[in-house]
Amino acid sequence: MSNESRQPLLELRGITKIFGGVPANDSIDLTLHRGEVLALLGENGAGKSTLMNIIYGIYRPDAGHILVKGTERKISSPKDAMACGIGMVHQHFMLIGRFSAVENICLISAGGALSLLDQKKVRDSLEELKGRYGIEVDLDCPVEQLSISMQQKIEILKLLYTGADILILDEPTAVLLPQECGSLFEIIRHMTEQDKGVIFISHKLDEVMEISGRIDVLSHGRVTGHVNTAEADKDLIVRMMSGDNVPDMSGYIKKEPRGEIALSCGGLEAFDDRRVQTLNGVELTVHRGEIVGVAGVEGNGQNELAEVLAGVRRASAGRIEVDGREMDLSDPAGFIECGIGYIPSDRNTVGTVPDFPLYENWLLRNRSYPQKRGLIDLHAVQEQASQAMADFDVRTTGCLERSANLSGGNLQKFILARELKNDPKVLICSYPTRGLDVKAAWFIRSQLTKAKERGTGVVLFSGDLDELFAISDRIVVLYRGKVVGQLRPEKTTTQEVILLMMGGKP
């Protein structure tokens, strides 16, 4: 900092936030000066979002103080935050698609419901801001017709219009194509030149090294490292991120010899729901009787890969072979009949129909239910479901219970029981233990291991590296929609996997 005498823009002292007994933020200190970019790094669940939501007034801290320009402020709503000059660009944009940029920004600037909108005045000041910060964007086109990158620029313009000088960018590059990042960084540089402070959240090391002045690393709700970017190298940062906790390898099972290839795919490309291409040529082979763990920072194509492999999402290019037979990518039912089980990450509205009783959900993605003269034999279905629920320790009042009334762990066990019933050739598991308590999580893991021993090829998508190291026979790393590394868990370290996940080269 050239001018040390100036007050820091934003100072957090001992911020603590506890959710259900678990501290999501544990006495966090953080300082942001004028004219600097502070990068905030951390794995999923490290507490970054919680911290940003506290700064932005969505959560109230259980302890600690927030100082804005030297004075302590109570921020209890985004409105308060804006009054303090704090602005945030969320990952999901808060824009009305049919409105132009000017109209969107008129929305936030309007006074009472009846005050007259002065579009001309808003436009003039936006034009001025565009020039000052080098933001190139069409102000009159309906926002929905603009690219994601343009919409992001409008969001930034919106913050600048409100006069924010503390800007929080929550994973701004996650939605951008690589070539679009440059212009965003250009804008960020213009902003810091004008004495604004930027908090830049990212998972991508290269970007952090390029744009930030200082780096704070969060791990398990604590700040585990501060470093000036100029003095940092990737290894140091990765070590700060993984902390000292080496995964517990005691539960590690000796690997079986691999069976024949159950599933292989090549050149897989797919688009996500926003029509952004998130798979860029995935190659993957899954053998019978092995667990392939897929690691990656969220948003690098895991959801789409899981759905494409399960046949639920149609790949835009590439091929998938099951048992050496090429699949028809346009026929989702074919995947089910071929014996591909799937545990989706959303168990409440994808893995089950919430309003169906459990025995009806037993029929979902199930092609071998009991039949009588070609019709569903409801009585036998109920018996079968009840039996399986007993086997998998699903605790509920019975198979007539509505699925929506089950707890996460019980529902997940139910889905697992259903998907494993016929020993699928391949089981795609998308974040199967997310949000579950420790006991339920281990039950799921042990069932996956048992399925593997019976010859199922398991593809396990997980955000929990300890879990991946504990039960996978192989770990593949997904980065920007591509497999960037294949590792044997016993021959690698979490550091190496994290580095690959962040786009680094080992």
Binding site: V312, P332, I336, Y342, T349, V350, V353, L364, I376
Partner: protein, 363 residues
Amino acid sequence: MSVLTEMSASFQKSVTHYRGASGIRKAAILLLSVVAAMLIGSLLILAVGADPLEAYYYMLLRPLSSITSIGEVAMYFTPLLLVGLGVSVTFHAKLSNLGGEGQMLFGALGMTVVGVPPVGSFLGIWSLPVGILLGILMGALWAAVAGFFRVRFNASEIVVTLMLNYIAEQFISYIVFYPLRSGAEPQSAKIACALPKIYQGSRINWGVVVALILAAVYGVMIRRTRFGYHLRALGGSERAAEYSGVRKKRYYFLAMLISGAFCGLAGAIQISGNTMRLMEGVAGDVGFSGIVVAMLGSMNPVGVVLAALFMALLSAGSVTMQVKTGIPASFTSVLEALIVLFILLGMAVSAAQSKRKKVNTAR
């Protein structure tokens, strides 16, 4: 009829929560809705200076007093039941077919073109099965237009089906004024072959039996086949259905097609079992009342049969009631609307209660 659009939309919204309610609770809500509507209706009857008990007697009990009047009830019951079943099919997939009226008209047209001379006299007895099949086909195709717009352009099937009604009405007007006109009145000639009667001396015909069999088929299809199961899954959670291998566009289209087929059959039976000739207004708003039947019957096969019976009694009895008590026959429309309002109210309250219960148990 725009009220119905609104109602149907809000029905779809609340039915999700409502589905979770137990069968007894559902039945209670529906029964209470009918009772409440009849109570409010009594106030209206009192207001015009008539006796409510007498009015309801003529509406609900008198029609069952003789075999002749039962035959009249059946004239209303058959198409109401068929349209009610058709609309139910779409409700299961969280679609709304509000185009029963238009689809019935096309079904009626299908029956008429093969029933009247020259085709009718050539086909003879065969004009009946051929006409019914053609009616089913034409009803299905008219609904398929809305289905196509829905899956291809994501256009609201509620609006499209509703608008197609007007087109169908105008088209049928043209048909009976010009190409198929026979005689001075704007109506077609008499068709060659009528649906056989069950009992001479009453108008009741085998159409009733066909409709009841189809109610059973509908129940089996919805509950016991994979198609019906996936249709309901689609209504419960689109993504869960896709997870189960459903191609949702195909299912949405098929649901509209089947729904239109039911309504087309209703139209064909309206001609061959009731009016014997095509004329304007031959569908007699059954296409709309059928929506109420589906709601009141809560899409349950037995429920839909009972609801259709109730609505048929109202319609058949209303004429006698008008003659005997001076209450206009259109009072039945008031009652219908009140019933729908109370059903929606009941579902909303029930949904709010179950939500509150959930919050409490979560704590």
